[in-house]
């Protein structure tokens, strides 16, 4: 599960849907991918930056910028390469995702997060 995924998932409990979920005990793995500036330039505008910052800090990537890169920063190769690594190369292989509101915990095993719910919380 790549870090960028965390920007698209919420708590699965219907009446909660809290966002973002919080990583705990995350075991990370780096899987190299070819870098292309346009890829990252096209992903950045659609991210919820505040939420990404929270996630990045939880995973130990505290050097992420305070504001969403735009204009000059969007053409700064080092910034784009750092984000490429964080968003697309870092994988969460084991650990938990925890909802900050309802406290529900979702396990991550072999890189697969399990959002199935106990039957009293489903449907």
């Amino acid at each position: 599960m790549k870090v960028v995924t965390s920007n698209f998932i919420t708590c699965a409990v219907k009446d909660c849907k809290s966002f973002p979920l919080h990583f705990r005990d995350a075991k990370l793995e780096l899987q190299e991918l070819d870098f292309q500036a346009e890829f990252i330039q096209n992903i950045i505008p659609r991210l919820d930056w505040d939420k990404l910052q929270i996630t990045a800090n939880e995973l130990g990537f505290s050097n992420i910028s305070d504001t969403k890169p735009n204009d000059d920063a969007l053409n700064n190769e080092q910034i784009l390469r750092d984000l490429h690594k964080l968003l697309l190369e870092v994988q969460i292989m084991e650990g938990k995702l925890i909802c900050g509101d309802c406290g529900h915990e979702y396990m991550i095993k072999e890189g697969i997060a399990n959002f199935l719910l106990p039957s009293h919380l489903g449907l």
């Binding site: 790549k2 960028v4 699965a12 070819d34 096209n42 697309l88 697969i112 199935l116 106990p118 039957s119």
Partner: protein, 273 residues
């Protein structure tokens, strides 16, 4: 013809083996008419959208398949993203209730992309379409509202007395040594989830359709849903059109005509003003 992703690593004990419906998905999405439509909708060239338009047409589309099974459809879409969407920078994500299917799909997609997306030349490195995650979930319940640009669904569409229950959160976590009969029973249960659709074969599809307006990107979101004849596709399309707010539904692919009836159809669901 474009190559079908390799699924030789997939065990079909609990996972749906690619069949006519899967191939209809591949053919429909890569058809000239549909890939032209999608490439126009997800044009990667920046447009002259006003500066305050937060969702300009040039951002990377999030492409989600619900119930990926072997991953043959999502793997194909990821590997052929340039042809289908006119761009490689799509973000591909798959969901399935079956852990084995989640693992299989990740491998199918990563392999298909690696085999088919070769660099144009040595000097110009071109990045490959990223497969961002397989997640275990009931349909798209953990996805952020309004975030999905393209939703693909090949549902369990066969009419059955009742739809099988959903797996619980824990039952796939501990691999126990099962007796032969217990394993057979468990495998049959997981296979039934891939095809048994309850009343009219629509119980699961109805739940997905209900989620579509909330989960799709409000401007450019589009869903592709496969239906069989017994699902009464014409009625389903009329129901979607009845949502109002510019919702549209059209048949964009079909196969296996029987006595003038299309056995399987793929319906495109989208909004336009």
């Amino acid at each position: 013809m474009l190559p079908t992703p390799c699924t030789s690593h997939v065990s079909f004990d609990t996972i749906y083996e690619p069949s006519e419906d899967s191939y209809l998905f591949l053919d429909t999405l890569s058809s000239e008419s549909e890939s032209t439509w999608l490439s126009n909708r997800f044009n990667s060239t920046p447009t002259t959208a006003p500066a305050n338009n937060t969702q300009s047409t040039s951002t990377s589309p999030l492409v989600v398949e619900v119930g990926t099974g072997s991953g043959v459809v999502l793997g194909f879409v990821a590997a052929n993203s340039q042809l289908i969407f006119g761009r490689r920078d799509i973000l591909a994500l798959g969901t399935d209730v079956n852990r084995n299917a989640c693992l299989a799909t990740r491998e199918t997609a990563v392999k298909a992309v690696r085999e088919q997306q070769t660099p144009a030349s040595e000097s110009v490195p071109t990045a490959k379409t990223p497969y961002i995650a397989s997640i275990m979930s009931d349909l798209c319940t953990p996805l952020r509202p309004g975030s999905v640009d393209v939703l693909l669904f090949n549902p369990p569409y066969v009419p059955s007395e009742e739809a099988p229950r959903l797996p619980t959160v824990t039952e796939q976590e501990d691999k126990k040594d099962l007796s032969r009969s217990a394993k057979f029973e468990q495998d049959s249960y997981f296979l039934s989830l891939t095809y048994a659709g309850g009343v009219d074969g629509m119980e699961t599809t109805d739940r997905l359709l209900e989620a579509i307006p909330g989960i799709l990107d409000p401007v450019r979101g589009v869903a592709y849903v496969l239906l069989c004849k017994q699902n009464r596709p014409e009625e389903v399309k009329d129901r979607i059109r009845g949502w109002g707010n510019g919702w549209k539904a059209e048949t964009v692919g079909n196969s296996g005509k029987q006595a003038g009836w299309e056995k399987l159809v793929i319906v495109r669901v989208w909004r336009s003003e």
